[in-house]
């Protein structure tokens, strides 16, 4: 079991809304590891759309992503890539 934590930034203009949340969940669910995302002291499950929506993370927000499990490294890499690409949005 490995645990990795990294800071990611929201770069798309509309921030974390329904579409990015759904896309992110689709990615995180492929991994066995737990994915937790912390923003302003609130930690939510990275496999939960509703959880991600409660973050209220606008563009420029820095979130802390923690992956824990056998494929933690891979999960984190996938999450990092999704944030960096702005979930395919502007």
């Amino acid at each position: 079991m490995t645990e990795v934590t990294e800071e990611v930034m929201v770069v798309n203009a509309l921030g974390m809304h329904a579409r990015p949340a759904a896309a992110l969940v689709q990615t995180t669910l492929r991994f066995e590891s737990d994915v937790h995302i912390n923003f302003r002291g609130n930690t939510v499950n990275g496999k939960s759309i509703m959880g991600l929506l409660t973050l209220g993370a606008a563009r420029g927000s820095r979130l802390s992503v923690t992956c824990f499990g056998p494929d933690a490294e891979e999960a984190l890499a996938a999450v990092r890539q999704m944030f960096a690409s702005g979930f395919g949005e502007d």
């Binding site: 329904a18 669910l29 737990d34 937790h36 912390n38 002291g41 609130n42 930690t43 939510v44 499950n45 496999k47 939960s48 759309i49 509703m50 959880g51 929506l53 409660t54 209220g56 824990f68």
Partner: protein, 322 residues
């Protein structure tokens, strides 16, 4: 269920402004003086009556608590000469004091208000009696300082028993909750359940203010349970009395078949009855949770079916021993 990685939040302090907001909303507190000090932190849930401090004894002065001034303190101050009172207050104010609270709509010496304005110490006032003010403040502050956490799961009020349904993503927590709502029960929160401890042994689930009673059902997307089923099928707050963990059906695993053993789960220091429910296609989990809730109520009323039946059997066996 592994809760060791659960993140528990506990407030270190709360600003007086937050307390004031609550107290003016639900109770009749007003702010008399010290407006600029409303961001002062309160570090303790307890209150202090500063009688001894006013009389000049400042050792062991519980300055970090909310200071409640009742009839005794106000009339004691009125007997003091203004210069003497100013001096005593000056000494008291060399400590950090979060706020003063006056009961019974008492009017303090103007010198107290003037000095609190100068030092920026908020002075709050209520019409309630002193003991009521004290118990309300303590009740409010213990709630604010109680530990809280967020759990991935679903909370539904089933026949008056708050049921927390947990399990791996995709196991069917939301679908189970939806079926329970369909059967007349009330949704508290889906996906993100905010849990708060009250007193030593009460655990409460709370609705998230952003997503409210919305839930995500795979294949449908986001639905609003309140809009679809009406206000009668939702609630914002419920004490948790049962935790049900859904897990994949495993032929080899041994599930509880008698109900004689009682399992508990410790969630932020509160022990909650806990059961594991194996799920497989065609098994109606909602009905099982419904019955579990009813059975829990029966136990609380003193009827423990599994144990009672077993005792009957053992007694009868004993009688027949040859």
């Amino acid at each position: 269920m592994d809760l060791s990685r659960l993140k528990v939040k506990r407030k270190q302090f709360i600003p007086v402004s937050r307390m004031l907001e609550h107290m003016t909303q639900d109770l009749d507190f007003e702010l008399l003086a010290g407006f600029q000090g409303v961001e002062r932190p309160v570090f303790s849930w307890d209150v202090n009556r500063p009688g001894l401090a006013l009389s000049g004894y400042l050792e062991y002065f519980a300055n970090d608590r909310v200071q409640v001034l009742g009839n005794t303190e106000i009339h004691f101050m009125k007997r003091m000469r203004p210069a003497e009172l100013a001096n005593r207050l000056n000494n008291m104010f060399s400590f950090e004091i979060p706020a003063f609270v006056l009961s019974r709509n008492l009017l303090p010496q103007s010198i107290l208000l003037d000095m609190c304005n100068r030092y920026g110490i908020p002075v709050l006032r209520s019409a309630m009696s002193t003991d009521e003010v004290i118990s309300r403040i303590i009740l409010y502050l213990t709630q604010e300082f109680s530990p809280e956490t967020v759990l991935h799961g679903t909370a539904v009020d089933v026949y008056g028993v708050g049921c927390l349904v947990v399990g791996k993503p995709g196991i069917g927590k939301s679908e189970t909750a939806l079926e329970l709502v369909e059967r007349g029960h009330r949704l508290v929160a889906d996906d993100m359940v905010e849990l708060k401890r009250r007193r030593a042994d009460y655990l409460y689930a709370q609705t998230n203010k952003t997503v409210k009673h919305c839930m995500e059902i795979r294949g449908l997307g986001i639905i609003d349970v309140r809009a679809l089923y009406g206000v009668g099928r939702v609630r914002n707050f419920k004490r948790i009395g049962l935790v049900a963990e859904l897990e994949e059906w495993d032929e080899k695993a041994s599930y509880d078949r008698t109900g004689l053993l009682e399992h508990h789960l410790d969630i932020i220091g509160v022990k909650i009855p806990y059961m594991r429910i194996p799920v497989r296609p065609g098994r109606n989990v909602a009905i099982i949770i419904e019955v579990a809730a009813l059975n829990q109520r029966l136990k609380e009323m003193g009827v423990h079916t599994a144990r009672d039946l077993n005792e009957d059997i053992m007694r009868s066996n004993k009688g027949q021993t040859r």
